[in-house]
């Protein structure tokens, strides 16, 4: 089920590298869901919570503004800051 490789990177190093099923990206006009087979896309991210769902459960990350690229089931998230939110 997990088909998307998600990379969350900041200037100070990678924060999350994981294979997931779905990613929810926070943008200025609401959140965008990315599933397997999504068309290539570049989108601006705003400060907010990024959610990703995998077979191990759902993870939430608080991210600063930045940019995300989606291509060939690979999501690269380049942001100013990111940290995992505890349950």
């Amino acid at each position: 089920m997990d088909a998307i490789s998600l990379h969350v990177l900041t200037g100070d190093g990678p924060v999350l590298e994981q294979t997931v099923e779905a990613v929810n990206l926070p943008t200025a006009f609401g959140s965008i869901g990315v599933l397997k087979g999504h068309a290539p896309m570049l989108c601006n991210l705003e400060e907010g919570v990024l959610r990703c769902r995998s077979s191990q459960g759902t993870l939430r990350l608080f991210i600063g503004s930045g940019i995300a690229s989606v291509e060939h089931n690979e999501v690269n998230v380049l942001v100013s800051a990111a940290s995992l939110l505890e349950e």
């Binding site: 990379h7 990177l9 900041t10 200037g11 100070d12 190093g13 990678p14 943008t27 200025a28 006009f29 965008i32 068309a39 290539p40 896309m41 570049l42 989108c43 601006n44 503004s65 930045g66 940019i67 690229s69 291509e71 690269n76 380049l78 100013s80 800051a81």
Partner: protein, 285 residues
Amino acid sequence: MANLRAIRTRIKSVENTRQITKSMKMVAASKLRKTQAAFGNLRTFSERCAEMLEEVSAGVKPCDSPFLQPRNHPGAVCYVLIVGNRGLCGTFNNSLLRYLEEQARQESREQFLVVCGRWGKDMIAGTGLRVEKTFEISDTPTAAEARALSAWLRQLYLDGRAEEVVLVYQHYRSVLSQVPARKTLLPLPKKGDAGRECRFLFEPDRESVLKRLIDLYIDNTVHSVLLESRTGEHSARMTAMTSASDNTDELIGKLTLQLNHARQAAITTEISEIVGGADALKNKQ
């Protein structure tokens, strides 16, 4: 005997110096590992950022972003001089300053400086170039420090106070070799080919994505240059301190030899005095 004591004091002081240089070497080595790791962490980010910019740059026109088009009116050149935070690192800072002076001589436009690092306020003032602002950059520059600097530089460029922003820093070749280099930060070098079709969707639109990406790219360039320069500084200091420690070892060896000579000479004199005294007594009898 006075000579002996003098040599012993000298050896003691050289030993103290050796202790200092050795610990400075170790500190530099650990800082070097830290900056190298940070540099490695940044590399993936830089690569991804450059890839994305390449994609978006397809068919981009200079008028799409103020950072892409050269300024029409003649303005000043801003040199961002990235020096070390301290001295004691060989010619690292001095050679960079000489390089800057050479660059400044060849430039006919008005020019001013932005200094990053604590080293040599007086030395920099000696070049006669106006220092607009000084930034404190830590020994392992973080993304936040780089962002503060690049945001200020972007504003400088947008306000028209500078038509060109040039980073002057020590390019890191290896632990043993750093060479002074310059990199034009703004305006951005031209990229991409106009005819290529872009296969990406943009959210919310191409202009804002391009703007965001360019900001990210500039931040990233500044951050990597800062890290590169600091990596060079730490390795230059490590090299300098290694050779200083080696020199103290050599010096201690020489001094010990001298000390032994002097001691031997003193003993010989003492013995010959005793023998001479004994002989004199014998002759008297």
